[in-house]
């Protein structure tokens, strides 16, 4: 056939390749192998099909999802704590708007006192 493929010095290499890759001889081996193939086909279980690869991905997928949920939960708890602290701080610290309003109320009160004083004279 195509035995011009190696130069004269390559014969040893070709023989080594053939020895390495030669198929098993002996009819008993092939009879047994045929029986195994037919048994495999009959059982119909494809080892390592795409669904097996999917099954392999399930575990790391679940771990990643759990980690994501944990991180999201921590972030949510942290955010709620911050909101609560902020709300409490708003309650105990008077805002500039409320000070102005109380000053205005106080000045209105002073006006009333002055009117009462004028009327009493």
């Amino acid at each position: 056939m195509t035995h011009e493929r190696w130069t004269s010095g390559d014969t040893e290499l070709t023989n080594a390749l053939r020895a390495l890759y030669a198929a098993p001889a002996g009819e008993s081996y092939w009879d047994a192998f045929e029986a195994r193939i037919l048994d495999h086909v009959a059982r119909g279980d494809v080892h390592g099909g795409w669904w097996d690869e999917l099954a392999d991905m399930i575990r790391p997928g679940l771990i990643a999802a759990a980690a994501l949920i944990l991180v999201a939960s921590l972030a949510m708890v942290h955010s709620r704590q911050r909101d609560a602290e902020s709300a409490y701080a708003t309650l105990i610290t008077p805002t500039p708007t409320s000070m102005e309003a109380s000053t205005r109320a106080a000045s209105v009160g002073d006006g009333d006192v002055a009117i009462h004083l004028l009327l009493s004279r």
């Binding site: 056939m1 053939r18 001889a25 192998f33």
Partner: protein
């Protein structure tokens, strides 16, 4: 484990016309659900199927696994096969895909276990199995496709066209892969070969 090794068969992919006719009848019977006919197809093609998968994977055991997978896929896809086509070419393409799929999965699984490079201290090549051992290591340095092409061509006697059809690559690519694979093997095994 391995039984005794047979000499290379160099069986051509093409079969005589009368065999093709009888094979077509067997294929049709298998498509109609005959287990016996399918068993005949397995018997007819298992050696060639083994040779193809063995050229692609790295071990005898993986080749056996790939052949079993290939026949299972073929059995499931049998109703989609058109009997006027050559059954062998169709089946061997499935076998090659099963072997390539297995190699891909092995690679992912073993990625952390394989060393980047394999140390090759010089020893007398006359030592038993030295060339075989070195060759085995050198073959792992080829790409999967280059390895498949050189084994299919030099060991199994496939033509470039047959290799192309089986592996789903252009004939020219098979030719070029063969050239590069040989060059790489020559380079990696130079020290042994120059002293022998």
């Amino acid at each position: 484990m391995l039984a005794t090794l047979a000499p290379p068969s160099l069986v051509p992919l093409t079969v005589p016309a009368e065999s093709t006719i009888s094979e077509r009848a067997i294929v049709i019977a298998a498509q109609r659900g005959s287990d016996e006919a399918f068993a005949s197809l397995v018997r007819l093609h298992q050696r060639r199927a083994y040779a193809i998968t063995r050229a692609i994977v790295l071990s005898h055991e993986d080749a056996e696994d790939a052949v079993q997978e290939g026949f299972l896929h073929a059995h499931r896809a049998l109703d989609r096969f058109r009997p006027e086509q050559p059954f062998g070419a169709w089946l061997y393409r499935i076998m090659a895909n099963a072997a390539l799929d297995l190699v891909r999965r092995r690679k992912v699984r073993d990625a952390d276990e394989l060393p980047e490079s394999i140390p090759m201290p010089f020893r007398d090549p006359a030592e038993s199995g030295e060339l075989r051992e070195r060759l085995q290591r050198a073959l792992t340095r080829l790409t999967d496709r280059q390895r498949a092409v050189i084994v299919m061509h030099d060991v199994e006697g496939f033509t470039h066209g047959e290799i192309g059809r089986t592996l789903g690559i252009p004939e020219g690519t098979a030719r070029s892969d063969l050239h590069h694979a040989r060059a790489m093997l020559r380079r990696l095994l130079q020290d042994i070969r120059s002293t022998s």
